[in-house]
Amino acid sequence: MTNLTCTQARALLMAWLDSELDATTTVSVGEHLASCDTCAERFEREGRLEHALAAELRRDAMPDDVWRRLLGALDQRGADAGPTPTARPSTANTWRWVAAAAALIAAVVLALQQPGEPVGPELRRNLLVDAADAWRAVRDGALPPLSDPAEVAQLLGRLGFADVELPEPGRLGGHPVRLLGARQEVLQGLRAVHLSYTCCDVPTSVFLVSEVDLATLPLAARPPAVRSALTAAEVDGLQARTITAGDVWVGVLGERHMTLAEFWQP
């Protein structure tokens, strides 16, 4: 057996917590703990912390409706070997709907502007609010995924845009729109769908972001354009309900196209 120092024993704490030490090393650690009250107390408390942490995080259960849908999918699968059934719109469809909704709403809002006129803070804020509301409606299942023009018209009506003329490809809300791309971007665990398009020749980037903890990113460190957008949101008290963990943050920056990194970091 090896006589361990406190430093050596501490280096084994993690594997000890996980019962991953071999028998010989386990005995050595046990001997050290028997002779060192400080380490013994530390190991015991670390063990309690791990246990408490696991107990706390194991409390979350699968909701019954999710379980029922899962069993339903299994039943359906057993009944026929057809495509995977989903009782709820898939995430991919949801994102497509959100992307389309954001673009449509952007067009609707921008339609109030004269072509070529820069997007002002008021319109940016409106777009942020509307797109966030659209996202919430989709997320909460209040709106189905986008599928055909008739549904789009109906959905726009529900969003309060009943008089909007349905766009033709390349012309949204009566104004020329060019979608340059929609892609997923990841930045340090922050995941966003990035829509990049021009409307009335105004370059616009929209980021649909979930799982954001804004508190980790101080406002003062943001680029001026982002800061002004956030400030505008705060004026209406939107920050609390719009920019929270698990919710969505839609940023519309009319100056130029940005990457997620540029948007999020100074």
Binding site: T7, R10, A11, L13, M14, A15, D18, E20, R42, R45, E46, R48, L49, E50, A52, L53, A54, E56, L57, R58, D60, A61, M62, P63, V66, W67, R69, L70, L71, A73, L74, R77, G78, T84, T86, R88, P89, S90, T91, T94, R139, V186, Q188, G189, R191, S210, E211, D213, T216, A245, G246
Partner: protein
């Protein structure tokens, strides 16, 4: 329902909460989590004839779920592969806020009960690769070897991810305690 279907469901049901909480903490949102769980379970169902009775159904179905989540996020899979190993695994020495952390350790159950929401938030804010290893080990109880096999990464990488995740969570807990000051009132 066939005997095989009944067997599958009886093995699946005890794992439903574990599969859900893992997916829900790894995915974008609840819809994406549900999609991943449903897809993984249907894959498991389809391949159930190759599952070896007597081996761990839990480990098998989790491995499928992990793959489903990684497939849904290629960036995460790429990041799993390239990790600088932790220089050492001294969890105690790694902590910068030793005094506040002592308060956490004074009565961890009480502290955790009082910062339950923050703990969940802290776990979700871990980098995805660290979060995945932490959840598989600390919450679901898989061995390092099983995690390494599921993620197709070396054991040393598993340990590095786990070490960093734990160090981050402990720092976060210490921050909560220091900022709130409530541990001063906690009986020891």
């Amino acid at each position: 329902m066939s005997d095989q279907d009944a067997t599958f469901t009886s093995l699946l049901e005890p794992e439903r909460d574990a599969l859900w909480r893992f997916a829900e903490r790894m995915c974008w949102d609840r819809n994406n989590a549900e999609d991943c769980v449903q897809e993984a379970v249907l894959i498991a169902y389809r391949k159930f004839d190759v599952f070896t009775p007597g081996t761990s159904f839990r480990a098998w179905v989790f491995r499928i779920l992990v793959n489903t989540i990684l497939n849904a996020n290629n960036a995460l899979r790429r990041r799993q592969q390239h990790v600088k190993p932790a220089e050492d695994l001294d969890l105690v020495g790694a902590l910068q806020r030793e005094e506040a952390y002592d308060d956490v350790l004074a009565d961890p159950e009480v502290v955790l009960a009082r910062v339950s929401d923050q703990v969940r938030g802290a776990v979700k804010s871990l980098p995805p690769n660290e979060r995945m290893v932490f959840l598989l080990r600390s919450i679901e109880g898989f061995a390092y070897k099983e995690i390494a096999a599921a993620l197709e990464i070396p054991m040393g990488t598993v340990m590095s991810h786990l070490f960093r995740a734990r160090a981050r969570l402990r720092e976060t807990l210490a921050d909560y305690v220091r900022e709130s000051g409530f541990a001063k009132d906690t009986p020891t």
